[in-house]
């Protein structure tokens, strides 16, 4: 397509600033030669290089040139606009230049950091500078829009991360919607018995926070609910939540469990594995996940309840409920809420131990996961806290295997962070409860945080035996009489340099952490990114650890990567602070990158209307042209690319700007 070029209205006076970024850029790019090259480009009034353009003196240099040399456009060839575009825009705006007259040329991330050969790097830097200079000629002094922010916050996930973030925001006076898909809040932490390294009882430190959430006037706690759809943008999200039918009137139920007693489903035969006890016990169709469930309200499983499945049941539960809280006619409720910020705290999924066939989980009765042992040693667990093997005997020797599913290219290459400490805790608990001899099989011991190494020391002094090596297999083939009837752990002891066979009664697999099975779906719903392994991606690994690439959406806890409780809580606090910062500011500035229709050119062909993913385009039937609703437009550019007549244009990315940029790159090849 041949474009008729509009020429700029005023005389251009462009300043080009080539940043060294210390040695980050200067070690690969010849900054002096790039500066001299820039100085000779048309309309360039001044070109300078500077060690750190982003420093105060660097910014002052630009401001001084604007004032003294009458610059009306500025190119900064430095790092990614993600980092410093705002800095330079603000510096120019301070001396009266429109921030949209500043153009960044990214010669660090796009050039010096990724190019081996200095000569090629310099050539590329020059191309990008030329492109930026040419693009600027067609920049327009746009206005950023200010949009008011809705003060409420949505938190997705009611584990310790979501609980902590909710309380912080609620205490700061914000209204919080806490949406949790399980029938109770509490998450994985509620399943734990003790927490390392201080061995506080998990329930003792968690349940007070759970009831604080329940009782807080600023928190709307929606359990058994899931986010269906998210629309809008930072400061103004419209969220659709499905509140699944519980078949219980939540406001009437007091959690007395009379209905559970009364449920006709016979023990063990038709009952289903209890999710909270990771299948170690069974539950009925109506159940309360655990004694301190919050809300203290039962739930009816529609896939087990005879009344709901077949419409035929004696309904002994209804009879038993003195408060008439059971309601078989309930149906899912769809609620729409407006929030300004969203914190995603959807947690993790424990590694499925069956995937490693050679460890025998699911095949040998006495191979357990760490999560199962948590439940077995817990006083409210299926055995009332008695640590017994499945045949009722007490283990005399136990082996705890580290790194199950972690640091293993076959499954997950990453370290799950929490399992070393979790496995040490297991060793301690097994020893304490049974007096068994315990072996821990580790690859590397990772006990890096406060009080952790001391905990490891303590476990060592308790007489736990540590064998360094990745376990090859757990097997039941015996070489000696001593091994008969035992599980044999085969491992190369890499400190001694021999292959060992260690017979044990009980094997505990320290399973790693994985992204939730539906993390991909959550990612799409909230329009955020995932890293390779499927955990949600933070905006910057160091400087934006709780932000996402979608403004207004923050991350907390293990959904962003494996974390233990202290780190999760710290991150939840950070996410709450960031969300608070956004909603308390009261407004957001929206980059004016929206599309618009040139009324003169538009033929009203309607090509663009069905293509817009945000339903921002409609047709003005009178003028017979397309109209874009700027409030809905996200600036994706789909309509611009699709428009057959070139009537759809996009601010910051007009055809002229893009063609000039391309020609700028090509002019210096």
């Amino acid at each position: 397509m041949i474009m008729e070029k509009k020429s700029p209205q005023e005389e251009l006076r462009i300043g080009v600033y080539v940043c060294h970024c210390g040695a980050n850029i200067a070690s690969k790019v010849d900054v002096e030669s790039t500066r001299d090259f820039a100085a000779k480009l048309p309309h360039v009034t001044v070109a300078r290089d500077y060690k750190f353009a982003c420093s105060d003196p660097g910014q002052e240099l630009i401001q001084k040139d604007i004032k003294e040399l009458g610059l009306n456009r500025v190119v900064v060839a430095s790092c990614s606009p993600q980092l410093h575009e705002k800095t330079f825009r603000n510096a120019c705006a301070d001396v009266g230049l429109s921030p949209f007259y500043v153009q960044m040329a990214n010669i660090r991330e796009h050039v010096s950091w990724v190019t081996e050969d200095p000569e090629l790097a310099t050539r590329k830097a020059k191309s990008l500078v030329a492109a930026a200079v040419r693009r600027l000629a067609f920049a327009a002094p746009l206005e950023t829009k200010r949009v008011p922010v809705h003060p409420d916050v949505l938190i997705v996930g009611g584990g310790i991360a979501g609980i902590h973030a909710s309380l912080i925001l609620a205490n700061a006076g914000r209204k919080v919607f806490l949406v949790e898909r399980e029938p109770t809040i509490g998450g994985h932490m509620a399943q734990f018995d003790k927490t390392f390294p201080t061995m506080d009882c998990a329930a003792c430190i968690l349940t007070p926070k759970m009831s604080d959430v329940k009782n807080h006037p600023n928190i709307m706690m929606w359990t058994y609910s899931e986010v269906e759809e998210v629309a809008g943008f930072t400061g103004n999200f419209k969220v659709t939540v499905r509140r699944k039918a519980r078949y219980i009137k939540e406001e009437l139920c007091v959690g007395c469990n009379d209905c559970v007693e009364a449920c006709v489903l016979k023990k063990d035969r038709v009952q289903v594995p209890d999710e909270f006890n990771v299948g170690l016990s069974r539950r009925k169709a109506v159940y309360m996940p655990f004694p301190q469930s919050t809300p203290a309200c039962v739930v009816i499983d529609p896939e087990q309840c005879l009344q709901l499945m077949k419409g035929k049941c004696a309904q002994t539960c209804v009879e038993a409920c003195e408060r008439a809280a059971i309601d078989f006619d309930q149906s899912d409720e769809i609620v729409e809420i407006d929030v300004g910020a969203i914190i995603i705290a959807t947690g993790y999924k424990p590694f499925e131990a069956r995937r490693i066939a050679e460890y025998g989980y699911g095949k040998f009765a006495n191979v357990y996961t760490t999560l199962e042992i948590e439940r077995l040693v817990n006083a409210s667990g299926p055995t009332g806290g008695e640590l017994r093997l499945r045949d009722g005997t007490t283990p005399k020797v136990a082996g705890v295997i580290h790194c199950v599913g972690s640091r293993d290219r076959r499954y997950n290459p990453y370290c799950s962070n929490v399992c070393c400490m979790g496995a040490l805790k297991m060793a301690h608990l097994i020893k304490e409860r049974t007096g068994a001899e315990v072996f821990n099989f580790y690859v590397d011991m990772r006990t890096a945080f406060k009080g952790y190494e001391e905990f490891y020391d303590q476990i060592l002094s308790e007489g736990v035996q540590f064998v360094r090596g990745r376990v090859a297999e757990v097997t039941d083939w015996a070489m000696t009489d001593e091994e008969k009837g035992k599980l044999v752990i085969r491992v190369e002891d890499t400190l001694v340099g021999v292959a060992r066979r260690i017979p044990v009664d009980m094997v505990v697999l320290a399973i790693g952490l994985e992204p939730q099975a539906d993390a991909g779906e959550i990612q799409r719903k909230f329009n955020i990114s995932c890293s390779n392994e499927g955990f949600f991606l933070e905006r910057h690994p160091k400087l934006g650890p709780v932000s996402t690439f979608t403004d207004g959406i923050f991350l907390a806890g293990a959904c962003q990567g494996p974390k233990d409780i202290p780190e999760t809580v710290a991150q939840a606090g950070a996410a709450a602070a960031e969300a608070l910062c956004l909603v308390d500011k009261g407004f957001v500035e929206i980059e004016p990158n929206t599309a618009w229709i040139d009324e003169e050119v538009c033929s009203g062909c309607k090509t663009c209307i069905p293509l817009c993913p945000f339903k921002a385009i409609s047709r003005d039937e009178e003028k017979r042209i397309a109209v874009i609703n700027e409030a809905l437009c996200k600036g994706c550019g789909t309509c611009v690319a699709a428009c057959p007549s070139g009537a759809a244009q996009q601010n910051l990315f007009t055809d002229e700007q893009i063609y000039e940029e391309i020609e700028g790159v090509l002019s210096y090849a």
């Binding site: 050679e358 076959r410 097997t475």
Partner: protein
């Protein structure tokens, strides 16, 4: 898809029964194997240890011949011996992955008037039977199902290591599936890829025999009527030293050691002589069959 058969030395020597049964069952499944004309040593064992590149060049010649026979047709070169299968696969991969090795081999072949474009697919019969023939076809072909014959499925090391192309590296299942399809009952053991001793039986005998002993004893402990193998060396080690093992460890370990293909053939109603089952030192007791 064309199927060419690469026998290698063992199938013409110590493991005649493997060749006989493989050819018979493929015939029965209407997928006759055509022996690669002019094949030579695959380059396994000692060769590989002495001069890797020469060993790989030796293997590559077979690949080039197979490509020549196939013309432009896609071709599977079926190598039943685990060692052959591994070395041919290794030659294929090394030529693709390592330019220096590829160059030497290409040059060597050019001297012999050969060239190789990399179009041959090296396959193990376990792979072909499960993925090309399919378990359903095997079920249909099993006119005399094995009626719960208890089998210890033994894969050996090379068929899934280091390249696990068609089965799980740590817990292979294809032989289990095949034998289950024809009515056998694989016993529960986790020693499927444990070392058979390899050449140790000929060098450090005691160490080698101990490894064989573990496998044989465990097969018996688990109630197996027979061990099924897919590798000539494994079969040889497990079958031929049973007497020595018994006197060395004071434990009877007599158990028939068959090729999986012999059991499949039996289920298809092919007679024992054709399948080479008469060659077994410890006869397969047919009580269960």
């Amino acid at each position: 898809m064309k199927y060419l058969y690469y026998p290698g030395c063992s199938l013409k020597g110590t493991s005649r029964g493997y060749e006989e049964s493989i050819l018979a069952i493929f015939e029965k499944l209407q997928l006759p194997l055509q022996e690669l004309e002019g094949w030579n040593c695959c380059g396994a064992t000692a060769y590989m240890a002495v001069d890797e590149i020469k060993a790989l060049a030796l293997a590559a010649r077979n690949l080039a011949l197979a490509e020549q026979v196939a013309g432009n047709e896609p071709v599977s070169l079926v190598a039943p011996c685990n060692s052959c299968y591994l070395v041919l696969s290794k030659a294929q991969r090394h030529m693709e992955e390592f330019e220096d090795i590829g160059d030497v081999i290409v040059k060597a072949m050019r001297e012999a008037g050969l060239r190789y474009e990399g179009h041959v697919h090296v396959r193990h019969p376990l792979d072909v039977l499960v993925n090309d023939v399919g378990l359903d076809a095997l079920r249909r072909a099993a006119s005399q199902p094995l009626n719960g014959l208890k089998v210890a499925c033994y894969y050996g090391c090379q068929v899934v290591r280091p390249y696990a192309t068609f089965d799980d590296q740590h817990n292979p299942q294809t032989m289990h599936e095949l034998l289950k399809a024809v009515g056998a009952e694989p016993v529960d053991w986790s020693l499927g890829t444990r070392c058979c001793g390899g050449s140790l039986t000929g060098t450090i005998e005691k160490a080698g025999l101990r490894l064989c002993y573990i496998l044989l004893r465990e097969a018996k402990v688990r109630g197996a009527d027979a061990v099924a193998t897919c590798c000539p060396l494994c079969q040889f080690n497990l079958e031929c030293y049973q007497g020595q093992i018994a006197s060395m460890f004071g434990d009877e370990v007599d158990i028939p050691v068959t090729y999986f293909s012999q059991l499949l053939g039996k289920a298809m109603g092919i007679d024992e002589r054709t399948l080479g089952l008469k060659r077994l030192f410890v006869p397969l007791t047919t009580a269960a069959v």
